[in-house]
Amino acid sequence: MTDTRTTDTVASAGQSPDVDQPYAELGLKDDEYQEIRRILGRRPTSAELAMYSVMWSEHCSYKSSKVHLRQFGDKVPETDAMLVGIGENAGVVDIGDGWAVTFKVESHNHPSYVEPYQGAATGVGGIVRDIISMGARPLAVMDPLRFGPADAPDTHRVLRGVVEGIGGYGNCLGLPNIGGEIVFDESYLGNPLVNALCVGAMKHDDVHLASAKGVGNQVILYGARTGGDGIGGVSVLASETFDADGPAKRPSVQVGDPFMEKLLIECTLEVLGAGIVEGIQDLGGAGISCATSELASNGDGGMHVELDKVLLRDATLTPEEILMSESQERMCAVVQPENVEAFLEICKKWDVEAVVIGEVTDSGRLTVDWHGEQIVDVPPRSVAHDGPVYERPYARPDWQDQLQADSAAKLARPQTGEELRETLLRLVGSSNLADKSWITNQYDRYVRGNTVLAQPEDAGVVRVDEETGRGVAISTDCNGRFTKLDPYKGAQLALAESYRNVAATGAVPLAITDCLNFGSPEDPDVMWQFEQAVTGLADGCLQLGTPVTGGNVSFYNQTGEAPILPTPVVGVLGVFDDVDRRTAMSWESDGDQIYLLGETRDEFDGSEWAHVVHGHLGGLPPELDLEAERQLGQILVAASRDGMITAAHDVSDGGVAQALVEMALKAGTGARTWTPDGIDTFTHLFSESATRAVVVIPRSEELRFTAMCQARSFPCTRIGVVDSQLDGDNQLLEFGDDFTVSLNELRETHTATLPNLFA
């Protein structure tokens, strides 16, 4: 595109119907192009083509996933909590006392592979703007991450960049990072996952929606100037696979400016607080195309934009590029004419540039002018909401049976105490189970002074209301190996684990968000995994009573023909009436009793042990009874409410052994533990059966607590006692007669792994 070219106007499109258009290069299929011609009754102008191509990309239109995602709307559990559901920038739930909370997780996977620092940074920036555009003050962020093997050279590059990007952006923006995940697996080597979650809060009255209502109202674009960033990024970066030797296309990447984003937060909250905003929308993927068409489509149906009013960073941009640009840190607001001046004044106070670019009309059309000539005239719904919908073929892969038949039962298990000890140390130091503080210590968890729990606790907990202590807990989880073995069950296990983590802190689980990371939807195997996972998640949410408030789908996560492990990351939000009663993970006092809640079965398929020791993946994931999961949650919440326990920690990857080690190391205090009757030590320590937690109970509460579990017929087994005196000052963790290990040795092993690899 050169600037000597004449502008392709709506009028000229009528006069030259047969011009060849590069729709294929823009990612549109033949029939999609024909559909656009049908909608418009003529060929699209190049600006219209740009708009449709980005908005009809997989990333923006959900064309492959829509038919399945409908289940989230069809299988909604009964709840009063949902104030705004799926379809808005982020869902909103009621947490009581007039407070509403909005939260959402999104992916920035492909950009983070190309340019890890900026990819991850702008991922954080994007999700934060989704939260502000609902009218909420962002409270905290989380970052579920997946990388290739920890010792692979490219992981070094990607991980360091991603972590610095998340820290660099989040720290500078002033949002505490309260949790996330870091998982290493071969399948993510050429395709890391960078998901980012943000949670925000507002009073019920302050909820804002993205709609352009009120004919004559002005459309204001504010924030950073529009540049050539990530042009085509939406369709190219987010929707196309890389070949073996790197990205096929290397469009200019987006660069984040967290300082501008901080100003944007404060400025936006101030204009919203002043009551002078009718509708508001963030600019993310597809930039102005997306914001204007969505605002118009959700509002009175018409909007007129004068594109040459847009403030540019690069004067040579063409109108098509301006429409598609993904420059970061921009927002769009709809404002009554008499309030425009006040709006601009507040922007000025915050050094934020703002300009009126258009107005709401009753034409039912979205029209865009460029230097007085009309270059876009489309029905906004056709761009924003009525994109193509695909029923992609899917089928249970023919390798699935074989995979499930290949159980871990045949693998050699440690027999002697010495072998068990070695196994424990090997797992504790393995990359997935090792201490992650080398990473999380690069994130500010204190800023804003409301962080009650942060990593490595089971869930992040933030106070929302300083007067009452009302607050929320959030955890994100997914075990991609389980999901590969059985995507339906795996997605439910992700939900269950996240639910359990939230309940472990004492919060009442309320609602979820999800980020569905999968391979190519054009592969029927992958599409089957996706369909199964969505169905599993929807069914699970129905059963647990936690509605899906929103989320994100990321397809095409694969290297060549090899897709990533199916990774439906689930984020569960729970509520506290008062965060003061939160339960932390580490024990405190000598003599406190250590109990295991739930039942341990011989379940090693897909386990961390099978992965680390044998490099094995096969069989069936652990059994899951969601009713039991709900009961466990109730017990954990009741125990927190009634002050019966001093600590709780969920049992998942690495089993009871890992849970005990983490609790002991956090406390710096040892314990005597043993293997309960009727089970062997290996299974007790390393099985990954679901629906379990370790809790710590002062002697004075023991009867009351065990009676509560008995009354609910929930298994509850004493497995140890906190003991700081096993060996004088040398703190030990004792595992019955089998073996003991000092906390010093555990700490050394647990903490050395990541710094050795990445520092």
Binding site: E115, G227, V253, Q254, V255, D257, F259, M260, R313, S327
Partner: protein, 92 residues
């Protein structure tokens, strides 16, 4: 001894928030007419002895991979070999 200076700057089309912040500050502090500011990095590398062909090639390669990120940055390498008789300059 050879002194090599590698200047690394953001590609012109890439947003430079640091440069923007400096531009704002220069204006507020009374410098008029500032049209643009870009902030880059400069590496000053001292090498022992004379540079051989291999080192030159290696330097060029590392400037474009380690010292700069080709996705968003450009670089220039200039080499100054100081001998007893003085110094010469060259840029790539």
């Amino acid at each position: 001894m050879a002194r090599v200076v590698v200047d690394v700057s953001l590609k012109p089309e890439i947003l430079d928030p640091q440069g923007r912040a400096v531009q704002g500050a220069l204006g507020r502090l009374g410098l008029e007419g500032v049209a643009d500011v870009r902030q880059g990095k400069q590496f000053v590398i001292e090498l022992e002895g004379e540079l051989d062909q291999e080192q030159r090639a290696k330097l060029e390669e590392l400037a474009g991979s380690l010292l700069s990120n080709p996705v968003i940055e450009d670089y220039t390498v200039s080499i100054n070999e100081s001998t007893d008789s003085g110094s010469t300059a060259g840029a790539n």
